[in-house]
Symmetry: C2
Subunit: 421 residues, 2 copies
């Protein structure tokens, strides 16, 4: 299976034209975000593993070539070149899990111009989406005050591939688990789940449903208590618990969560059941979590779905792939609002007592000065094994801890990024 | 390759518990959207082909079973059942390309309860995303007044799989092409593209860049004219055209598009170049298209990217999969704001002079009364070949033409859907 048709037509028409006009010198492209959405104070770099994995299979199959031939656009010579296409260049990247800001390159791709051009769409696609959801997950985690937060979004992700990638991004960025089994298997993420309304509706009573679930999974019965009447159901839970049926937690999925969580907690505590945890999964995002926890609503754990997995308040980033150098000379455009910064760059981060102070985006030669960007692929070959999701998660946790604390709030902050001339 | 781990953990824990408690009778689940986003007047059903394709591979591989075994949750008996899992039930669905509204089932899945439960996540994932983007594309097309509209979103789709599925959904729902080569190959969608800023920046002048592109692709040089100064570049285009270099069109990608398009058109017309078309690709969505076309801005063609492919103004639908019948008896829940309607249903559509008047969602037995829902899978086997994307596109075009015209505008409308008791 080749991945090389995962691109836009114009990458190939430009590549053919470059070759026809002798534009095959070394080009450097930079992949960065022009500005952050108003709803984000920082980004978390992600998607590199997906990109590298797809690049390893980046070849045009016989089928692909036959299809391209039918378009009547490409020359025989160019199709032959595509047949033999292997990316022979160099990629430098900021490691996954690193905190980044606007105008900082996540990736720099260097290689013969037609080759580097052809990677544009795939590079953007992989880095954009995973950085988007990792950044959203980090923002959600940051307001969670250490409470458990898990990914329940698989049904609303934009395809199953997106659900798997998002579960990984969320794990990296601070979530504690996912409901997504494929992601659990692939990345070793703890998998979690409760029960659906359909389960409760299948039995003659909520009492019967909870007993049945508990008999199947003795220690795992997080009981969904909002199918009919949440407070009446809380009393059912209390009766069960007093009978000795172990109930580790209850889940709220509708209604006025703040009020219900307080009432449920009060009833449980009054019944001496302080150990039963309250799990919430209705319409959860960083705004509701922050509101609930700021008002001391007694919630122990959050299942975050749709709003996380679609990054609903900011479903895209203004991320671009721009030519910055060709044969050693700088390139930039001056379109209004879309000015770019020329030259190969490095990000040099400055700290004050372990906390981020400001970044400089400095010019650098082929041998990078030390900084956030590191070689990943040299002459088409991977430099070193990519880190595991757990290692990336650790790195990300340190990164987020090093942010000035207002950046972890929902109030808009602007980080000092200095683009040196 | 199996697709059965593309699910949430709780589908499997519930299935095990159902089996342990003899709940293996016939269940009917309905997949529908509870309410439309304020930004949508109708939906376009899509995603069925993806779902059916994935269901054909819906089995747990030896690897999957081994992974599930490591979780320490499932019984040996249940894992054996999963090993042999094949969906043996029945699926009825509204054909792709059909216009739908809130509370109308897109899909009804009927089968032994544990089997039908296990399909929930995958069914929602496939139908939700493609319906979401098909509906967005139809809304964009509907305000396009017959102008050409193409999908340029691949770089911002939520994974490559989403980009391919969205390109297909857009084609079905009225777009004229896509930049996405894999989608072009797979679905026979016309592929389109222009040139990037990097191309223009690679040459010593815009003049040289356009000549180079034109020499590579004599009839395809849609020249990108905003890299430096749009109006100065328009004069370059005029000189080229007067010299006899064929320029079929120019593309605007930044700045005040309305003003620039007028100025560029004026200059081109004054130079007797009325044949050169204006193509716009900056920040395009249904709102900007409607605004430009309502003000008679002379644009011939739109490239729609990010806002389409992420459905940015409404990046998800409130789509659910609900148990409506078990062993012939109705099931429903009464959670506030989340009440469901019991029974297997059919959608009966009523017209007035060929235009949609109202829909009835009626109860029906195992043999459906005639209506929008049709059998797709019976006893686990596909009933008839699925229609081609082109056939679906035709159907969708007729469907959208049958909407009362205000539903094709951006003003909020409410369609009359009657849920019969």
């Amino acid at each position: 299976m080749g991945t090389a048709l995962l691109t836009d037509l114009y990458e190939l028409t430009m590549a053919q034209s470059y070759r026809e006009h002798g534009k095959t010198g070394t080009a450097v492209f930079s992949l960065f975000t022009r500005s952050l959405p108003p709803e984000r104070n920082f980004l978390v770099a992600a998607g590199l593993e997906t990109l590298i994995t797809k690049l390893e299979q980046f070849r045009f199959t016989a089928d692909d070539i036959a299809y391209l031939g039918t378009l009547g656009i490409f020359s025989r010579d160019f199709l032959t070149w595509l047949e033999q296409f292997r990316f022979s260049g160099t990629i430098c990247a900021v490691p996954e899990g690193t905190v980044l800001f606007a105008n900082e390159p996540i990736l720099q791709i260097e290689g013969p111009l037609p080759e580097a051009q052809v990677l544009e769409t795939l590079a953007l696609n992989c880095i954009h989406f995973e950085t988007l959801v990792a950044s959203k997950a980090a923002r959600i985690s940051a307001v969670g005050r250490g409470k458990s937060i898990v990914d329940f979004g698989f049904r609303r992700s934009h395809t199953t591939e997106a659900g798997i990638a998002a579960a990984r991004a969320a794990w990296i960025a601070g979530f504690d688990g996912t409901s997504n089994l494929e992601a659990g298997k692939r990345y070793g993420i703890p998998v979690v789940g409760t029960m659906a309304h359909s389960y409760v509706m299948l039995f003659d009573s909520e009492d019967a449903a909870f007993r049945a679930y508990q008999s199947s999974f003795p220690d795992r019965a997080i009981c969904l208590i909002d199918t009919y009447d949440t407070l009446a159901c809380t009393d059912t839970i209390i009766r069960l618990a007093w009978e000795g049926v172990p109930v580790p937690g209850v889940r709220l999925d509708s209604g006025d969560i703040g009020m219900l969580a307080r009432d449920v907690r009060e009833r449980l505590d009054a019944a001496d059941l302080a150990g039963i945890r309250i799990f919430v999964s209705s319409n959860v995002d960083e705004y509701s979590i922050d509101r609930w926890l700021s008002s001391n609503i007694p919630i122990d754990s959050f299942g975050v779905g749709t709003h996380f997995i679609t990054s609903s308040d900011a479903p895209f980033l203004d991320m671009v792939y721009k030519l910055v150098e060709y044969e050693g000379t700088p390139r930039f455009k001056t379109s209004p609002g879309k000015t770019t910064f020329p030259y190969r760059r490095q990000i040099v981060r400055h700290y004050r007592e372990g906390i981020l102070a400001y970044d400089e985006v400095v010019r650098t030669g082929k041998d990078l000065v030390p900084g956030l960007l590191e070689p990943v692929l040299t002459d088409g070959t991977i430099v070193r094994p990519l880190p595991s999701p757990d290692a990336i998660k650790e790195r990300c946790s340190r990164e987020i801890a090093s942010l000035p604390s207002p950046f972890r709030s929902l109030e808009k902050q602007h980080y000092d990024v200095r683009i040196l001339p």
